[in-house]
């Protein structure tokens, strides 16, 4: 339909309606006038005849209304009339309207904002064709955690499994592109040839990787992301086939991914290159091809189920093939973990997101309860109006419809304002979001969010309107017109009290939950990281260029760079380490202990390749023996190592670990290392994870020279301010070397708790809103009740009640509501505590301190909310009160 014909049809309808209205008017007027004329003819005076005609006709409005209904298709018209009436009603009570709309806007906006974040992450399928068929396959790690797989494991599965169309493995690649000014490091991925086919998204320019690209010593080829192609290569379609230099090697660009491609496994990746591992060295377990460090994805065959795939992989795991010999750490004794990609990327954030979703829904319910209460209170004030309308012939259904229209109108206004709130909320949410949150780029107020907003707005409009509408329409005119009737008022008050109890209970649930999270965060930050975090600056330094393939050159560069950094004024100490606590690194090797009953047993421990001075710079305390010195960086026949305190206690109970021998990393038959010192435990993964077994060696003594190292610098003044000077110092040694990820240690500490903090901030916000709404609810009910009972209070005072007893009367009423709400809320809070147990740290879900604190807080707020109406009741003048009404 064109706009013009649509407009014409609308105009036609409008015209037809108004003609019908005027015809109806004419017809009814004709009736009354004809009757009046007959009366006049019978001798009645004209005035009197008209009056009598009108009276005998009855309610003209009602007749018209029934005529409209009889004719059908009346809904739109009466809706328009109801809307107009409702709107003018709202304008007459601007304060009420503003508060209602604001409350609803907050509730709807917050819910829509959270929904916009939760929907793409938990509910929407990933942006790939048949995304539900994409699986992640992992080895069993400690405590059934998901662990990465080795290249030869991937090869075995790719060869033997039939459930998958394609399998692919990937690991992080951080190549450096040097331009005129500074070296730039990119995030990318090494991928096996089937990576993009597994995801189901081909490049939009050029070609995908072929098996011939992904072979040992294969060609240097690269596929670019759309963003990188636009930013660095000016969207030039002729890029295909061109050479670019990455890490001092020349790569041929063979493809560009489409702009719509979302890479959920490594969202920041902008470059992809073939893995090119060696399939020929399967019998040598001391190779990277046998290291469990790859992520494996697979696309199920159409029609194959996830259970089928699980069964098949279990069968393969339990049935080794002679072509694929396995080392002990890839025996697949427990089989494999197979989960959907969606499940895999949301694993870490799911509990927090669901908890936040639950919390915001509670806020929404509280907001609705509050608005219902406001509408009920307003209903009491509008009793006379309803009574009048009933007397004029409005039916009960008609009244309910009118009131529902009004509440829907309020909800619609709240919904529109709520969408604005949601926009702001989403922006805040993305800004606050922890790094672990997947698919952040797809969070926004989009179609599904609008649909969701519309849905809840409609639902709310009906829900909040229903109770007040039914209550109001139950008004019998004769009772309502007698203003002093207490019957209907009593009913209202009971409903409103029940609603306040609900509000208090829900607020308690939210307050307890956020209290538990707050205390968890306090506990977490009270955990000693094992080093001195203040005045500590960290950054990653990477060697770039083929000449650094030589270990001696590499080590020399880092030594010179360290020297230059130490000479900067303001630097009190500096050192390099191969992995940095709380940076997300997880570099683990197996350790064998000479004193163990079975020296073949390999225990995992973090490997730190450090420069002498690392412990002094970090402030990690020495417990026994000695720290590293410059002598330890020389080629010694026996390698000196340091271990951490809890490892020493566990492995050498009651013994001196100094002088004991372990074997750490490398071939099984290599010489033993000697323990020269024991240092304090350090939190590596996060403050909440206590796993801290560590072995320290000097970088120079490690199996190879680490090309990427963390620089840690202890500063005298502000740590962050020294970053530019340090960069310049490193570049004074070699200006082509990338220096990235500069951060203060305090920043890393905060980031390690980001997810908890994220949940906490949201819960605190929601709990605060809930507390305010509950307080407002108590206040509203009590002031209404005091106003309605002014007469009763006056009588009590006249009969000799003291002011104090009146005060107590009102406060008791309010506190009873609070008490009942708290009692109900306690059960809910206990359930909520269990639901968020995964996010708690060092605090029980039934933590008495939190519960007590929250109850005191709620009692305080409701005391204030009771106080004002109670004072008003106390000041009632009996004389005035008795004259009232």
């Amino acid at each position: 339909m064109t706009y013009w014909s649509r407009l014409r049809s609308w105009w036609g309808n409008l015209m037809r309606r108004s003609r019908m209205e005027s015809e109806m008017d004419t017809e009814l007027r004709f009736h009354m006038e004809a009757y009046a004329e007959d009366l006049v003819r019978g001798g009645v005076a004209r005035e009197e005849a008209m009056r009598q005609a009108r009276m005998e006709f009855g309610s003209v409005e009602r007749a018209k209304e029934e005529c409209r209904e009889a004719r059908g298709a009346n809904l739109v018209e009466s809706l328009v009339r109801d809307l107009r009436y409702g709107a003018s009603n709202m304008l007459r009570a601007p304060g009420f309207t503003a508060i209602t709309v604001l409350t609803l806007a907050l509730g709807i906006g917050a819910t829509a904002a959270i929904f916009s974040a939760v929907n793409p992450i938990l509910f929407e399928s990933l942006p790939y064709p048949h995304a539900e068929r994409i699986m992640m396959i992992s080895e069993f790690g400690p405590e059934s955690s998901r662990s990465r797989v080795a290249f030869h494991t991937y090869r075995e599965l790719a060869e033997r499994s039939r459930s998958f169309v394609t399998l692919a493995v990937t690991k992080i690649w951080q190549p450096t592109l040097v331009n005129a000014r500074e070296p730039e490091r990119f995030d990318g991925q090494f991928v096996s040839a089937g990576y993009f086919r597994t995801l189901g998204v081909p490049p939009f320019l050029g070609r995908d990787f072929e098996p011939s690209d992904d072979r040992f010593h294969g060609p240097h080829v690269v596929i670019l992301s759309d963003a990188l192609w636009r930013r660095r290569f000016g969207s030039d379609a002729a890029i295909i086939g061109r050479q670019i230099t990455l890490d001092d090697n020349s790569y041929t660009v063979i493809g560009v991914m489409p702009s719509t491609f979302e890479n959920v496994l490594v969202p920041s990746a902008e470059l992809w290159t073939p893995l090119q591992y060696d399939p020929g060295n399967i019998s040598d377990s001391q190779t990277r091809e046998w290291g469990n460090h790859l992520r494996m994805a697979g696309r199920l065959q159409p029609g194959a189920s996830i259970d089928q795939a699980r069964r098949e992989l279990k069968a393969i795991a339990g049935n080794p093939a002679p072509d694929f010999p396995r080392p002990p750490w890839a025996s697949h004794e427990q089989g494999f973990i197979v989960n959907s990609l969606q499940d895999d990327v949301t694993l870490g954030v799911k509990p927090a997101l669901l908890a936040v979703l639950g919390a915001v829904l509670l806020v929404l319910v509280i907001a609705c309860v509050n608005v219902t209460n406001l509408l009920l209170a307003r209903g009491v004030r509008r009793r006379a109006e309803f009574a009048l309308r009933t007397a004029l012939g409005a039916g009960r259904a008609r009244l309910i419809r009118q009131l529902l229209t009004e509440s829907l109108l309020l909800a619609a206004m709240g919904g529109v304002a709520g969408m604005a709130v949601a926009q702001l909320g989403v922006r805040a949410l993305v800004a606050l979001s922890p790094a672990e949150l997947p698919r952040v780029s797809s969070i926004g107020v989009d179609g599904p969010v609008f649909a969701f907003g519309l849905g809840i707005t409609t639902l709310i409009g009906l829900l909040v309107g229903l109770i007040p509408a039914i209550r109001a329409s139950r008004n019998e005119p004769q009772i309502a017109l007698q203003e002093s009737s207490q019957r209907t008022v009593g009913g209202h008050r009971r409903t409103r009290s029940a609603l306040v109890v609900v509000e208090v209970a829900l607020a308690l649930v939210l307050l307890v939950s956020s209290g538990l999270l707050l205390r968890s965060l306090h506990h977490l930050f009270a955990v000693a990281p094992g080093f001195e975090a203040s005045h500590l600056l960290t950054m990653q330094v990477q060697t770039y260029g083929r000449r650094y393939d030589d270990d001696a050159t590499c080590n020399r560069f880092f030594a010179q760079a360290l020297e230059a950094v130490r000479n900067i004024p303001g630097v009190s100490a500096a050192a390099f380490t191969s992995q940095l606590p709380l940076s997300g690194d997880s570099d683990i090797y197996g350790a064998q202990f000479e004193n163990a009953s079975n020296t073949e047993d390999v225990a995992p421990a973090f490997r730190y390749g450090v420069a002498p001075g690392y412990f002094e710079t970090m402030g990690i305390p020495l417990r026994r023996g000695r720290l590293f010195n410059e002598q330890d960086t020389l080629a010694l026949p026996t390698r000196p190592v340091l271990i951490n305190e809890s490892l020493a206690k566990r492995r050498y109970p009651g013994q001196d670990p100094i002088g004991q021998r372990i074997r750490f990393g490398g071939a099984p038959n290599r010489p033993w290392d000697i323990i020269v010192g024991v240092v304090g435990d350090v939190k590596q993964t996060s403050l909440a994870v206590s796993q801290s077994d560590a072995v320290y060696v000097t970088t120079a003594q490690w199996l190879w020279a680490d090309g990427t190292r963390w620089l840690v610098v202890r500063t005298r003044g502000d740590a962050a301010a020294l970053a530019p000077a340090i960069r310049q110092a490193i570049w004074s040694v070699d200006k082509g070397q990338p220096v990235v990820r500069a951060a203060t240690m305090e920043g890393l500490l905060a980031a390690s708790a980001a997810q908890r903090r994220f949940a906490l901030i949201l819960f605190e916000t929601f709990a605060l809103v809930a507390l305010m709404l509950a307080g407002a609810g108590i206040y509203g009910v009590l002031s209404g009740s005091v106003a309605e009972r002014t007469r009763e209070i006056g009588v009590r005072l006249a009969l000799g009640a003291t002011h104090e007893s009146i005060l107590a009367l009102v406060i008791r009423q309010g506190m009873t509501l609070t008490g009942v709400g708290v009692a109900i809320g306690l059960a809910g809070a206990a359930a909520a505590g269990q639901a968020i147990a995964a996010m708690l740290f060092g605090v029980s879900p039934l933590d008495p301190v939190t519960y007590l604190g929250v109850i005191v807080l709620l009692a305080g707020v409701s005391a204030v909310a009771c106080g004002v109406p109670a004072m008003r009741a106390m000041r009632v003048d009996p004389i005035v009160a008795l004259r009232y009404e």
Binding site: M24, F30, H31, E33, S59, V60, A70, R71
Partner: protein, 113 residues
Amino acid sequence: MDKQLDLLQGTLDMLILKAVSLGPLHGYGVLLRIQQISKDRLEIQQGSLYPALYRLEHQGWIASEWGESENKRKAKYYRLTAAGKRRLQAESEKWNRMADLIAGILDTKPEEV
């Protein structure tokens, strides 16, 4: 009060159909005609007449057109349609059967049971 109205409604529809079956009438005329045939024994709520007329028209049993009244005023006239005629016949038969039945029951004397 509601129950009374419901009872009236069904009968009112039938009375209106009967009234207009004798010739086109405007609303007031329908009222007068019913009062006339019933010899003023029936009291009709004037306000309830028009919803009934509109309903019957909506159902297609009567049709309306604007015309001129006896005293040269614009008035809306209702006439019975073919469907209305059938309806009136069916309703009358049903009513008569029902009335006979009810009357029979009410006339029953104790010794007849």
